[in-house]
């Protein structure tokens, strides 16, 4: 599979992870550090069901999917393998949600950051337990798998070697199906009256209680929902890689997802999505950093144009009650003088990045290895420059310029800032 398609798959999985974590860390203002752990729970459950399930049902763990899981596959849209895969992903979500309930209930009753501590511990326990499991039963031993009771199969998860040689069902279709589903569910939640209740908990827990919100119940709900999607993401991850190893799903993984949520703006769905996309691309970019200066130059030109020419656009209700997209351009040069500061910043940052890139190239330093350092730096800069994250609690369209409905005969309004 091409590098580009792989990045797209990673982006999709990261969207599921970041958007689901937004429900806990963004909406209710609790702090979970165990998303990697829930992903591991889901991933292993899905791996077990698909691998041992295939061996039990068909005597082979080969790929048995239809068109949706493999473009080259012929015949039916859906085959038995796909059904097993979807069931496995649902079971992965449910298992993670169940784990979330058990972990969340005691810690969410308490006020304060107990959740952070407990989830951190949970993630580590999951990792250690999974690494201590018995070796995977080989693909060739379908008869052994058939004779082994299910509960015993659940202890053969590959230990430190990880769970390998899984049939890969998680294609772009399935991953983006899950991503879109996550986005819809979480967006609807945010816009519902329960969504308002979630946000109120984050704003002021005592006042929220005074509004009649059952705070504990909502916190547990948010956490369980979030764990569910983390579990599904784990299942997708295992079925896209064809392998899963608990070592990769430790604290570092949880931290990456937290960064996506924080960068995007605690509580912003579009922010988390954007951050998930950017941070999924970043490692690829770092592997072979392209020149920065063309982008910097282009940005400078655009900024000059925006400073000199006001551009605004928006949707307004038109004369015949239809929606009209209007774009207004006006020369602003007479009204505004130059603003040099942003231009200097962009130029400076471009030069700094370009220098860093050249130094790395010349000294043969692989910056991809310093990814976590970069993440930490990004967090620090973000906390200084814009502590509420890219979009804060809002969505990006809340920032689009809004225009008053214009009268049919009137002139197009002046461009707004």
């Amino acid at each position: 599979m091409g590098g580009f398609a792989t990045v797209l798959l990673v982006i999709g999985i990261n969207i599921v992870l970041a958007v689901s974590l937004t429900v806990v860390n963004g909406f209710t203002g609790q702090f979970s550090m165990g998303h990697g752990g829930f992903m591991a729970v889901g991933g292993y459950v899905a791996a077990m069901i698909v691998y041992y399930g295939s061996l039990r049902l068909w005597g082979s763990a080969n790929f048995a999917g239809g068109f949706l899981s493999s473009a080259s596959g012929d015949g039916a849209w859906l085959a038995g393998g796909d059904v097993l895969f979807v069931v496995a992903c649902l079971a992965a979500g449910l298992a993670a949600a169940g784990a979330g309930y058990l972990v969340g209930l005691p810690s969410l009753r308490l006020k304060g950051d107990y959740l952070a501590i407990v989830t951190l511990g949970f993630g580590e326990i999951v990792r250690v337990v999974l690494q201590g499991t018995a070796p995977q039963i080989a693909r060739s031993k379908a008869d052994v798998v058939r004779e082994t009771p299910v509960w015993k199969l659940a202890t053969h998860l590959g230990g430190a070697q990880g769970f390998n040689l899984l049939p890969t069902y998680a294609t772009l279709f399935w991953i983006y199906f899950a991503a879109v589903l996550t986005l819809i569910v979480v967006y609807r939640l945010k816009m519902s009256s329960s969504g308002r209740a979630f946000l109120s908990i984050r704003e002021d827990e005592i006042a929220s209680q005074a509004m009649g919100v059952n705070v504990t119940k909502y916190k547990v709900r948010a956490f369980v929902l979030s764990s569910f999607f983390a579990g599904v993401a784990g299942g997708l991850y295992a079925m896209y890689l064809g392998a899963i190893n608990a070592t990769d799903l430790g604290f570092q993984r949880s931290f990456e997802v937290i960064i996506m949520v924080v960068l995007g703006g605690m509580g912003s769905i579009s922010g988390a999505t954007l951050a998930a996309i950017l941070l999924s691309i970043l490692p690829e970019v770092l592997r072979a950093p392209p020149p920065v200066w063309p982008a910097g130059l282009a940005l400078l030109v655009v900024m000059v144009i925006i400073q000199k020419v006001g551009i605004s656009f928006g949707l307004t209700r038109g004369p015949a009650d239809g929606i009209v997209l209007n774009i207004a351009i006006s020369m602003r040069s007479l009204r505004r003088s130059w603003k040099f500061k942003p231009l200097v910043i962009v130029a400076g940052v471009t030069m700094a990045l370009e220098t860093a890139r050249l130094v790395c190239l010349q000294q043969q330093i692989d910056i991809a290895q310093y990814r976590m350092v970069l993440y930490a730096l990004m967090l620090i800069i973000m906390m200084i420059v814009r502590p509420e994250g890219l979009f804060g609690v809002r969505e990006f369209w809340d920032y689009l310029p809004r225009r008053r409905a214009h009268s049919p005969s009137g002139p197009v309004a002046e461009a707004s800032a």
Binding site: R196, A197, L199, S200, E203, A207, A210, M211, V213
Partner: protein
């Protein structure tokens, strides 16, 4: 039978005893005020009544039923709303969202819409600021929002904790006028105030709290006239 009856209420924070044996009654349709120095236990009394903190001993009944140990969201359903000290505004949400959260426990859409209108009539300033983040309102506007939000659950009893705290004199006047108006529209009010002067003017009944116990009680006008209260709480020699 009073709408709210508190008898022999004891509350502690760990080893700190905040209330030792409070008796208090609120008749339906009245404004009752609870005044007292800082740290006397006024907020504690309200929190215990609305179920936000547990009571150690004593009885609280609302509308004839014991409500000891009932969680706040249940009490709200039964018609008791608490506007806590410090307002507890949801700063990053809009004024509109704050009001909607006030009606969180209700699901009668038409009733909510009516109350929304009614509340905005009482607080015209909020009407102009529905889409604004509540955190950007001025202190006085935030206080208005807190009261308005408390009313959105259509309570029979409204518990107000220092609604005039930190407000300029003309704003204080407005707030008290509104409190009286809300009461005249049929809501019973238990009011905590530092501003004893204003509180005694609007209230029917008054209680004076001193270090966790009721020191004086009676019709507000009588207390306002007593030497003790004049000297200690109204600053009149």
């Amino acid at each position: 039978m009073p709408l709210l009856q508190v008898s022999n209420l004891h509350v502690s924070y760990g080893s700190i005893r905040a209330l030792h044996g409070i008796d208090l009654e609120v008749e339906a349709g009245k404004i009752v005020t609870l005044i007292g120095a800082n740290g006397a236990g006024k907020s504690t009394t309200l929190r215990a009544i609305s179920g936000m903190i547990p009571s150690e001993q004593g009885a609280i009944s609302f509308d004839g039923h014991s409500i000891l140990g009932t969680p706040p969201h249940r009490l709200l359903e039964q018609g008791m709303a608490h506007v806590p000290e410090g307002r507890g505004i949801f700063g990053n949400l809009t004024v509109e969202d704050n009001l909607a959260l006030g009606a969180y426990i209700r699901n009668d859409r038409d009733g909510i819409r009516n109350d929304h209108e009614r509340v905005l009539e009482l607080f015209p300033r909020l009407k102009e600021r529905l889409k604004q983040s509540a955190g950007t309102l001025s202190g006085g506007e935030q206080q208005m929002l807190a009261i308005a939000r408390g009313m959105m659950s259509r309570p029979r009893l409204l518990l107000l904790d220092e609604p005039s705290l930190g407000l300029a004199p003309q704003f204080v006047q407005t707030i008290f006028a509104i409190i009286r108006e809300v009461n005249q529209q049929g809501t019973t009010i238990l009011l905590i105030e530092q501003n004893a002067h204003m509180a005694l003017q609007v209230a029917h009944q008054a209680y004076v709290l001193e270090t966790g116990a009721i020191a004086m009680r009676g019709p507000a006008s009588e207390l306002a006239a007593s030497d003790e209260v004049r000297k200690r709480y109204l600053g009149i020699a």
